[in-house]
Symmetry: C2
Subunit: 251 residues, 2 copies
DNA sequence: ACTATAGTTTTCGCAACGCGGAACGGCAAT
DNA sequence: ATTGCCGTTCCGCGTTGCGAAAACTATAGT
């Protein structure tokens, strides 16, 4: 194929785009809804989706709507195992100790991906969908991981992603962020003070030596995760991070 | 497309076949390994895999091997949410009560799919990969679910799948299985006595009214899950099944 | 350091496969 | 019964996916 398009096999791109849109829609959507958001013609979508239905990655309801199919579960689990499932018992222990939601995130390309989460038992708690992707500058885990990278690599990443504001508190100036990364590298942890989401505070610690650049974090409402409780909680997070690092290095 | 192949879009089929083979290989494989198991030519695999790498569903290691990529995690989670994530707290409670591994499975097409699992805290415990698919006749959950179906539907399913033996204890005669399904329907639960795996016993109870035909089960080594402990455990499983049913009906 | 081998990646001509406009079918509302 | 909306099917066309051959890279052995 002399004139290969830069993106690769077009039908693959389109099929996965449709799967992502199904996930965006809560796992279920109609053909017209998919046509509306994707801009593809109905018969094209139909043919791709029909193939996915036949294969088991999409399922059609009796009301003709399409949902994500069960064959995706195993693929997701298997992919998850490459990243965060091994960390789950440690996260659970951290939640027991500090009583807030614990997360493990990795840097994948230019994005932070949450790969494991053990939620707090409080009714009011952080819920970050496993698999969710965010830009690193706006999150505690992202900043923790960036602090471990050479600064020219960070600059290159930021020039690709920009620094869009998630909230009025998000750091949107590259020099300001780089300065804070220097500080984070020294102190060994990062804070997210309503930068990702208003009213939410997060402590994040990078893991050293994991096959993939990773960070562990504790997050919760800033009414509970106060400056004072941060000082109490930090040693626990650091301790778990050390044990996660040991575990990752042993693999 | 006048000569549409019965299976749909060929490149989609091939790509997902490769993803499944990656999962089969523990999440990681080389190009040659994939060529060996799939029978596709190397450049074909390369082009499909390259597209998946670009999209984030596959990732290439520094040692040139390919692993499943993080973008699959969200798809898997979202698909999982269609099925079993809501059941997890109930399963955890069941494990607390009976101290054996608890599972939730659904009937998807002709197969049983394990969609949620909370493992026992014993070192020796059942581990069934979430997303794993098995034929229904050879499992407790499968038999529990089949017992809820009209018998001609069961006959049709069995004629499609056959009744291959997983172990010497597996029921491989259709009439014998249908008779046991009649009994299971009356008593409200199914047992798997080393039919799926030697040395493993399982109690399974169907859920009524779930959007998808489902069953909850407790499984463990038959040295611990004795006939006597089955009698003790059964009321707990039935109680949780009732609560899961109530929860499913409420959605 | 050099060579051989195995595995991965790239190139490019070709035809088959994916595409999408048009037509058809099913369902719900009036 | 009619109309409108949505999903599904049909089929001609050309672009996209395919794979043999060549080029490149990594590793192991001498």
């Amino acid at each position: 194929m002399a004139r290969e398009s830069t993106g690769g096999v077009q039908s693959l791109q389109r099929a996965f785009d449709l799967l992502e849109r199904l996930a965006d829609a809560g796992g279920e959507a109609s053909l017209s809804e998919l046509a509306g958001t994707s801009g593809l013609p109905l018969p094209t979508i139909h043919r791709l989706i029909r193939t996915l239905v036949t294969l088991g990655y999409v399922r059609q309801n009796s009301n003709r709507r399409y949902t994500l199919g069960s064959r995706l579960i195993r693929l997701g689990e298997s992919a998850s195992r490459q990243f965060g499932t091994w960390a789950r018992p440690f996260l659970a222990q951290l939640v027991d100790q500090v009583e807030e939601t614990a997360n493990l995130a990795v840097l994948d390309g230019d994005e932070v991906v949450y790969v494991a989460q053990v939620p707090s038992r409080h009714s009011m708690r952080m819920f970050t969908e496993v698999g969710r992707r965010l830009l690193p500058h706006g999150t505690g885990v992202g900043k923790a991981m960036l602090s471990q990278l050479p600064r020219d690599e960070v600059r290159a990443l930021l020039s690709r992603t920009g620094l869009p504001a998630y909230t009025p508190n998000t750091i949107t100036n590259a020099d300001e962020l780089l300065a804070s990364l220097d500080q984070i590298a020294v102190q060994g942890y990062a804070l997210d003070e309503s930068e990702q989401e208003l009213g939410v505070r997060c402590i994040a610690v990078p893991l050293h030596g994991a096959p993939t650049l990773s960070a562990v974090s504790v997050s919760g409402p800033d009414s509970r995760l106060t400056k004072e409780s941060v000082a109490r909680i930090l040693p626990e997070v650091l301790a778990i991070a050390k044990r996660l690092t040991d575990q990752a290095t042993r693999t």
